[in-house]
């Protein structure tokens, strides 16, 4: 059955390049495996439908709605203005503000695509107006958008937590330090490039402007505080925290900033349902394929083969990094994650790797995959927003991969970067 599974996975992977919907290819691969292996097809609707029958996963649509509400309330604009007031005086000020803005936005949005499409539009326009070329504006936006799913809340981490049976709260906490490190490393790279390419800068506008921008953005800046407060004091589960955050975002848009009207609500909800459908079609069919992979006993065989090769957790992590980086280049992140979790996670657990650290390594690898060609969803979106051909964008983003790789290496080699916060705040048993 393992040969069959490998053949099915190979055919599925190759078929993706013909351009069918990814979920269709995944669903048919699962169907083909079950049909040839002689397993009753009635498990298909069962696995597909029951993948959504999960309370933790319910956080996903709620966070999607929250992000849409924030974008519709003009919050992205206020965040960018505030970021500009903090770091705009540096050389390449708007590029730096782009990164700082992404960090703040990351605290309310869990998806790199949402960051690139929402905040990214504001950022790229502002940068082009100041004379940055589209490539630079798009590349910085794409690279900083990858911070979005590392700093909580995070859609990929919710899905990882559910699929790998790891605490979503712990994963969220584990992302805070790596996310800030990514921002710092990216800012160093921008600084380096800004001096070499002589990017524009502003004089510092003074404390008054900074204070004003802070006051105008204050309630938006409080959103992550509300979210994390509830989440990390142990009062709310991530799903409940997401519901509370939706209420907060709604109140903010309607009563504080008054840019959001109740009449817009159906459209915003409908868009959230649509995005949920796109995400869940992948999650549901991948869970069918994941079931097939477990039935084929591929994980056991692969695990035995791999542990025969190495017993060293570090070597294993390096192998996983290389594998995920390569796979991330060619596959959509969520689909790759769900198919590979049943294969890679059991071995990691056996080798004594902290599941939270492993989750972070997993997610960061695949997020880097979203800004690398040929299949890079975030790169694709920013190329569209910046109106630059995909190939040129893929080239422009290269220097920004260096700082991201540095952080990836750090969290791979030094588990404490990821585990210290969950250990401290959730008092996890070591």
């Amino acid at each position: 059955m393992i040969t069959l599974m490998l053949a099915v996975l190979g055919a599925w992977f190759l078929s993706l390049f013909a351009g069918p919907a990814i979920y269709v290819a995944m669903g048919l691969a699962g169907f083909a495996f079950l049909a040839i292996a002689g397993i009753p097809g009635i498990v298909i609707p069962q696995k597909v439908a029951m993948a959504a029958n999960s309370f933790p996963l319910l956080a996903a649509p709620l966070f999607i709605l929250m992000g849409n509400l924030m974008n519709a309330s003009g919050i992205s604009y206020r965040i960018f203005e505030f970021a500009k007031a903090i770091v705009g005086w540096m050389r390449g000020g708007l590029a730096q503000a782009n990164i700082v803005g992404s960090v703040i936005f990351a605290g309310m949005s869990g998806s790199a695509v949402a960051d690139a499409a929402g905040l990214g539009t504001v950022e790229i326009e502002a940068m082009k107006r100041e004379g940055y070329d589209g490539e630079t504006a798009g590349a910085v936006t794409a690279a900083s958008a990858t911070i979005g799913p590392i700093i909580p809340p995070s859609l990929p981490m919710i899905v990882y937590g559910v699929a790998a049976e790891t605490s979503i709260g712990a994963l969220f906490l584990a992302g805070v330090i790596p996310g800030l490190l990514m921002a710092g490393a990216l800012m160093l790279m921008v600084r380096h490039l800004a001096i070499r390419r002589n990017m524009p800068r502003h004089p510092f506008e003074g404390g008054r402007v900074l204070w004003l921008a802070f006051r105008r953005a204050f309630w938006a800046l409080m959103a992550p505080v509300v979210l994390f407060g509830g989440l990390f004091s142990g009062v709310f589960t991530p799903t409940e925290a997401a519901a509370v955050a939706v209420v907060y975002a709604l109140g903010l848009g309607m009563f504080v900033y008054r840019e959001f009207r109740l009449a817009d609500l159906p459209k915003v909800i409908l868009d959230a349902v649509e995005t949920t459908g796109v995400v869940m079609a992948l999650v549901m069919t991948a869970s069918l394929l994941g079931y097939c992979i477990s039935v084929s006993r591929l994980p056991q065989e692969f695990g035995a083969w791999l542990t025969g090769l190495t017993q060293n957790p570090l070597v294993y992590l390096l192998i996983v990094n290389v594998l995920l980086l390569v796979v991330g280049c060619f596959m959509e992140a969520l689909a790759a994650m769900l198919v590979l979790i049943p294969i890679l996670v059991p071995v990691a657990v056996k080798l004594g790797i902290d599941p939270v650290q492993f989750g972070l390594v997993f997610v960061l690898n695949l997020m880097i995959g979203t800004i690398t060609p040929p299949v890079g969803v975030v790169l694709y979106v920013t190329a569209k927003v910046a109106n630059v051909p995909f190939e040129r964008m893929a080239h422009a983003v290269l220097p920004y991969l260096v700082p991201l790789f540095a952080v990836l290496a750090l969290i791979t080699l030094w588990p404490a970067v990821t585990t210290v916060l969950p250990d401290l705040l959730l008092r996890r048993a070591p």
Partner: protein, 161 residues
């Protein structure tokens, strides 16, 4: 035909919004009752999960209508217009096939679970499963329309839609 399609789309949209709001209300009610009123609800968790199943499938239908399901189109876009149209036909037919699989087995699993009751609310589990064939039927019809459009594009030598 177009009027019927527009009406059906509207029904799906309204139902999707209503169920999403209900799901959200369930989670919120759970928070309010557990932390503020001190008497946890027994049914909110289950209802929210089943509403989520329905929402996910309705979102699936809406995304199919708006053609926003993720696909890797960069390889295809390097080919000539006619080859692209041919691959689009193949992709749409694959979607029809998978929808067919879900309609066939989805109907059977819904029937089989019609007299099985859910834990907290005691309504038939079959109701939860019923969305599988219904949504798959809608997605299949959209895919048939896509296939037909790509097919006529292929016949006309691959002019872009």
């Amino acid at each position: 035909m177009t009027r019927f399609a527009a009406m059906a789309a509207r029904v799906v949209d309204v139902l999707a919004i209503a169920l999403f709001v209900a799901m959200f209300a369930c989670v919120l009610a759970q928070v309010v009752f557990r932390y503020f009123l001190g008497s946890p609800l027994t049914w909110s968790d289950e209802l929210a999960r089943y509403l989520f199943v329905w929402c996910a499938f309705l979102g699936w239908v809406i995304a199919a209508r708006r053609r926003s399901h993720l696909a890797v189109t960069m390889g295809r876009e390097r080919l000539g217009a006619r080859a692209q149209a041919a691959l689009k036909v193949a992709g749409a037919l694959a979607a029809v096939a998978f929808a067919g699989v879900l309609v066939f087995y989805g109907t059977r699993i819904a029937e089989r679970n019609w007299d099985v009751e859910t834990t907290a609310l005691a309504f038939p589990v079959g109701v939860v499963y019923a969305i599988v064939p219904l949504a798959a039927l809608a997605v299949g019809l959209y895919a048939v329309a896509d296939a037909a459009a790509a097919w006529s594009a292929w016949r006309m030598g691959g002019a872009r839609r």
